[in-house]
């Protein structure tokens, strides 16, 4: 964990793919956000008794 923190907070590690370059810390943040987004889509919310209202009729 400490080494991982050092990677993020120390000298920037920049990754290069041709014309594209990105700092490792920024890439890890983007990947983490994509993981959170995917989890938000697939993880059950935990409410077993669904309720309805007339939201669609108001549009």
């Amino acid at each position: 964990m400490v080494r991982a923190a050092a990677v993020i907070t120390g000298t920037p590690h920049v990754l290069h793919w041709g014309w594209f370059s990105i700092e490792l810390a920024n890439l890890l943040i983007i990947v983490a956000m994509l993981v959170v987004f995917a989890l938000a889509l697939v993880v059950p919310f935990g409410r077993s008794a669904p309720a309805r209202d007339d939201s669609e009729k108001r549009s």
Partner: protein, 216 residues
Amino acid sequence: MSGVGAAADQETAHRPRDSWTRALRERIERTVPSGQALPDRQPEYVSSWIYVFGVLTIASLVVVVATGCVLAVGGVAWWHVSSLGHFFNSLHLWSVELFFGFMVVHLWGKFWMAAWRGNRLLTWVTGVLAFVTSIGTAFTGYLSQSNFDSQWISAEAKDGINSIGVGAWFNVLNPGQMLLWHVVLLPLAIGAITVLHVVLVRRHGVVAPIDAVDGE
């Protein structure tokens, strides 16, 4: 009917139709359907974590504003000389990080479900405005750190601002102007846009999934 209610009805009956207070009251009453301002029932498809991120964004904004108010009490250089000030500065920074993270996940979710459907274009547009205004607020925050970092950022930013022709009115090399934009004008704008965005969400309701049949 109570005496107070009867008196109110009598007063309303005598109030002229062109009364601005009456017109404003009726406009407010029409803005959000009855019972939808703070609903306790939602469609089945709202039972998803993806809908939580909008509320998390607002919760983060509350923490951002609250910690910003504490920093304003101590002053712009307080966090350099006080451990308590440094603590609140860190709370301010990380609540901003979470604010943007939650808002971007909320944005992704709404984009892929085409949340502008069903007469909800203005809801989408106010969300975009909130996002863009938040970026501007964060940038002026970088310029208000009162350290070498903010000096370097402002020196780099001036060329970009000048290239779009607004450097005479929005001078990133003027820390006083940037600080006032950061703590007064832009937070007020974000607050107003956020209120409008939430009112529009409650007015039109949460958009149904693309493949939903009859709103199920």
